[in-house]
C-alpha cells in the first residue's frame, strides 16, 4: 500500500484551509455564547454570525438578510425546493415543479417526495449530450401553476455548467422562482445572484476549503418560502435552531477567500484538468470525456471507459494510492449506471465505467503526472476483469 496518497477528489470534499481553521477556533471556547442570548456572550456570537452573513452577501452581491445559514448544501436544496413549492401551493395553488434530469439527489429526491407525498406534478427537462438544459425548453414548459424551477448550476458528476442567467431571466418574466444548486460552482466562480437572475441558490462550505456541516441558502427578498425546520425565530424565521457559530465563521472566511483567489486557483486547476483530459483521451482506448468540453468546472475531468467496472477501477486506484470518484460519493458498490449518465444518453456498457478526477488549489503537477502514468494499466485491468466471473483455471 502506498503511503503518500494522492487526492484527486476535490469535488467530493476539500481540506479546511489553515486560515479558515484559525478564524473558527475562537468561537469554540472563547466566544461560545448563543447568538440569541441577550448578554455580552450572546452578542459576541451574534456579531460573528452577522458579520459572516455580511461577508457572504457581499460575495454574492445580495443583502445580508437574504442569506439563510443551514447545515449543508443538501439542506439548502431541501429548504429551497420544499419551502418554495409548499409556499407557492399555499399562496397561489401552484402544483407543478420543473427540474432537470441531472440534479443532485438532494434536489431530485426532494422533488420525488413532493410528488409522492404532496401530490406535486414533477416534470423533467430534456438535456443535450453534455447534460445542459436549454433555456427554450424551460420557456416552453413554464406554466402559471409552476411552483418552482430547479436547475443545477454545475453538475457534480460531469462538471457541465448550465446557462442559469438566461433561464433565470425567463422565469423572472413569468414570476416563477428559480433555484440553482451552486454547491460545485460556488467553489470556483464568483457568483453574482443578481446577474444570475436566481431567487434561491444553495452553497456548501466543504467544497471550498471550509468545514463540513455548514451551508447557506440565498433567498431573494420577496420569494415565498415555507420553513421546513420550525422552532425558534433564528434566520428570520426561515430556519430554526441555534446557529453553528464557528462553522458559519469558517464558511464565510472560506467563501471570502474564493472571491480573492478564484482567478489564480482556476488558472492552476484548469491547466491540470486540461492535461488530464488530454492524456486520458490520447492514451486510453475506448475512453470518452463526459460533460461539456469547455463549459465545465475548471477543476473537473470526467470520463467513461467502455466495458470497465467503474467501482473496481476506483478500488484499484485506491489500492495504488489515488483517490478518485465515479461521480458521486457512494460506497455500496452499486453497479447501476448513474441517472446523470443515463440522461445524457450513454449506453450501459459505457455508463458503468465512469471516473471523475477533480483537482484542487494545492494539487501539484507531478501528482497529476503520476496518476496519469498509472491510470492506463488500471483501466485495462478493470476492463479485462469485468465479466470474467467464471471458475478460476
Amino acid at each position: 500500500m502506498t503511503t503518500d496518497r494522492i487526492y484527486l477528489d476535490y469535488s467530493a470534499s476539500t481540506p479546511v484551509d489553515g486560515r479558515v481553521l484559525e478564524a473558527m477556533l475562537p468561537y469554540f471556547q472563547q466566544h461560545f455564547g448563543n447568538p440569541s442570548s441577550i448578554h455580552r456572550f450572546g452578542q459576541r456570537a451574534e456579531g460573528a454570525v452577522e458579520s459572516s452573513r455580511e461577508q457572504m452577501a457581499a460575495a454574492l452581491n445580495c443583502q445580508p438578510h437574504e442569506i439563510v445559514f443551514t447545515s449543508c448544501g443538501s439542506e439548502s436544496d431541501n429548504l429551497a425546493l420544499r419551502g418554495a413549492a409548499l409556499a407557492a401551493r399555499q399562496q397561489r395553488g401552484a402544483n407543478h415543479i420543473l427540474i432537470s434530469p441531472v440534479e443532485h439527489h438532494a434536489v431530485a429526491r426532494t422533488a420525488e417526495q413532493l410528488a409522492e407525498v404532496f401530490g406535486f406534478e414533477v416534470e423533467r427537462l430534456p438535456v443535450d449530450e453534455y447534460g445542459r438544459v436549454s433555456p427554450q425548453e424551460v420557456a416552453r414548459r413554464l406554466r402559471p401553476d409552476t411552483a418552482v424551477v430547479s436547475i443545477i448550476h454545475a453538475n457534480n458528476e460531469i462538471g457541465t455548467l448550465n446557462p442559469i442567467a438566461e433561464i433565470g431571466a425567463l422565469c423572472r418574466q413569468r414570476g416563477i422562482p428559480l433555484h440553482t444548486d451552486a454547491v460545485q460552482s460556488g467553489a470556483h466562480f464568483p457568483l453574482d445572484v443578481a446577474a444570475l437572475n436566481v431567487d434561491l441558490l444553495s452553497l456548501g462550505a466543504h467544497k471550498f476549503y471550509g468545514p463540513k456541516g455548514v451551508g447557506a441558502l440565498y433567498v431573494r427578498e420577496g420569494t415565498p418560502l415555507l420553513p421546513t425546520q420550525t422552532g425558534g425565530s433564528q434566520e428570520l424565521g426561515r430556519r430554526a435552531g441555534t446557529q453553528n457559530v464557528p462553522y458559519i465563521v469558517g464558511m464565510a472566511t472560506a467563501f471570502a477567500l474564493v472571491q480573492q483567489e478564484h482567478a489564480e486557483r482556476a488558472a492552476h486547476e484548469r491547466a491540470l484538468r486540461d492535461r488530464i483530459i488530454g492524456r486520458v483521451l490520447e492514451e486510453i482506448p475506448a475512453a470518452r470525456l463526459t460533460g461539456h468540453p469547455e463549459e465545465r468546472l475548471p477543476n473537473h475531468a470526467s470520463f467513461v471507459f467502455r466495458g470497465v467496472d467503474g467501482n473496481q477501477l476506483l478500488i484499484l486506484l485506491d489500492a495504488a494510492g489515488f483517490a478518485c470518484s465515479s461521480g458521486s460519493a457512494c460506497k455500496t458498490g452499486n453497479p447501476e449506471p448513474s441517472e446523470v449518465l443515463t440522461a445524457i444518453g450513454l449506453p450501459r456498457a459505457w455508463a458503468l465505467g465512469s471516473l471523475r478526477v477533480t483537482v484542487g488549489k494545492d494539487t501539484r503537477p507531478e501528482e497529476v503526472e503520476r496518476f496519469l502514468d498509472a491510470l492506463p494499466e488500471l483501466v485495462e485491468k478493470a476492463r479485462l476483469h469485468n465479466g470474467e466471473h467464471g471458475e478460476s483455471p
Binding site: 478500488i315 489500492a319 453497479p335 466471473h389 467464471g390 471458475e391 478460476s392
Partner: protein
C-alpha cells in the same frame, strides 16, 4: 468481511501478524424487497464492517456480486430443486463467488492471499529432498463443532495456495474473547446456519415465489409401489423427513427416496430406511488427483452430519463409490459427501441419485 465476529477477528489477527490487510465485503443477492433480511450483507452489516475496518485502520471495499451470485448460486439452487435434488448453494458460492469472483478481485488489487473467517486450517509440507512444495492440505478447524472444511472441500490447489484461515486455529469461544480483547464492535447475532438469501423465510416459501414449476404434485408410494397419498412437489421434502407427509399409518413413515422419473415420493417405516452405499460425482480431490486405490475414510454426507466410516473407491470420470460400514438414513442427492482421514480433508463430491 461481513461485520461478524469470525471475519473481523481474522482481519485483526492478520493485521497483528504484520500483514498488509485490505478488507473486502461481498454484496450478495437478495430477493427484491427483502434486502434487509439478508443474513450476511445488509447495509447495516456493511456499515458495521466499515467501522471494524476503521478500527483496524485498514482499507475497506464493498464488491458488488449480486448479479454473478444470482446467475450462479441462486440459479443452481433453483435448478437443483426443479430437478428434484437438494442442492447445497454454499458449495457453489464458495467455489464460484468467494474463491472465484472475490479471489480474482483480490488478486487484481495486488493481494497475495485471500483470508476468510472459516473454521478450517491449511498445512503445507515442504519436501526437503526435492525442494518442491507438496500439495497444500486442508484440515478441519481446531474447533470440531464449528469445523467448516465441509464447504471448503471444493477448493483446488491454486485457490488453497492463496487462502488463509486465521481463526481455524481457535475455538469459537476463543474467537469471541479475541473480539472483545481487540475491542471490535462486532455483531452479536447468532451464527448463520441458513442460506443468506432466504432471509427470514424458508426455502419452500422462496421456491414457491421464484420457481413455481416445483409445485408439481405427484403420488406418495410405499416400498411396494402402492399409492398411499399425494405430495405437493418433490422439492418440498427431504430424505429422512417424517413430519408433514399427511399420511395416517400404523407406524411412522419417513421419506426414503424421490423417484424423479415418476415424480413420486417413496416413504417407508424407519426399519426400511437407509442405504449403505452412495455414488458421488464431480469429485474434487484436495491434492489435485484421485488416490490410486480404494481407501478407508470417515465420510460426512451433510455439513452437520456425524462422520461415518466407509470405504471409498475412486472411479473413472471424477466419481467415487462410498461403501459405509453401517447404513445411513439420510443420504441426500445434491448434498456433498466429504472424505476425511483424521483431521485431513481429502476432498468430496456431489451425491448422485441412486
Amino acid at each position: 468481511m461481513s461485520g461478524g465476529v469470525d471475519s473481523s477477528v481474522a482481519a485483526a489477527l492478520l493485521k497483528e501478524q504484520g500483514y498488509n490487510v485490505i478488507g473486502m465485503m461481498l454484496r450478495l443477492w437478495s430477493e427484491p424487497g427483502r434486502e434487509s433480511e439478508n443474513r450476511c450483507c445488509t447495509l447495516d452489516s456493511m456499515s458495521l464492517a466499515r467501522r471494524i475496518a476503521a478500527r483496524l485502520d485498514i482499507p475497506f471495499y464493498a464488491v458488488d456480486a449480486r448479479q454473478v451470485f444470482r446467475q450462479t448460486v441462486v440459479e443452481a439452487f433453483i435448478d437443483g430443486y426443479t430437478q428434484g435434488i437438494t442442492p447445497n448453494p454454499c458449495l457453489v458460492c464458495n467455489r464460484k463467488i468467494r474463491w472465484g469472483f472475490l479471489l480474482e478481485q483480490a488478486l487484481a488489487l495486488g493481494a497475495d492471499y485471500l483470508a476468510t473467517g472459516h473454521y478450517a486450517r491449511l498445512r503445507t509440507a515442504q519436501s526437503e529432498a526435492t525442494g518442491e512444495t507438496a500439495p497444500v492440505q486442508l484440515l478441519k478447524g481446531r474447533d470440531e463443532g464449528k469445523d467448516q472444511s465441509y464447504v471448503l472441500h471444493v477448493l483446488n490447489q491454486r485457490q488453497l495456495r492463496r487462502a488463509l484461515f486465521p481463526v481455524g486455529e481457535y475455538t469459537k469461544e476463543e474467537v469471541r474473547q479475541m473480539a472483545r480483547d481487540f475491542n471490535l464492535p462486532v455483531a452479536s447475532r447468532a451464527d448463520s446456519q441458513d442460506l443468506c438469501f432466504l432471509g427470514e423465510g424458508t426455502y419452500a416459501e422462496f421456491l414457491e415465489r421464484n420457481a413455481p414449476a416445483v409445485k408439481r404434485p405427484g403420488p406418495i408410494l410405499n416400498t411396494r409401489g402402492e399409492v398411499i397419498g399425494e405430495h405437493r412437489g418433490l422439492a418440498f421434502y427431504t430424505i429422512g423427513q417424517r413430519r408433514g407427509l399427511g399420511i395416517a399409518a400404523a407406524e411412522p413413515l419417513y421419506v426414503k427416496e424421490k423417484d424423479l422419473a415418476r415424480n413420486a415420493l417413496v416413504v417407508a417405516p424407519r426399519a426400511e430406511l437407509g442405504s449403505q452405499t452412495l455414488l458421488a460425482a464431480e469429485v474434487n480431490w484436495i491434492r489435485g488427483e484421485a488416490p490410486p486405490a480404494p481407501f478407508r475414510a470417515e465420510v460426512k454426507i451433510r455439513y452437520k452430519a456425524r462422520p461415518a466410516w466407509a470405504t471409498v473407491t475412486p472411479l473413472p470420470e471424477n466419481r467415487v463409490r462410498v461403501q459405509f460400514d453401517q447404513p445411513l438414513r439420510d443420504i441426500t442427492p445434491g448434498q456433498a459427501a466429504v472424505f476425511y482421514q483424521g483431521e485431513v480433508c481429502l476432498g468430496g463430491g456431489l451425491i448422485q441419485q441412486p
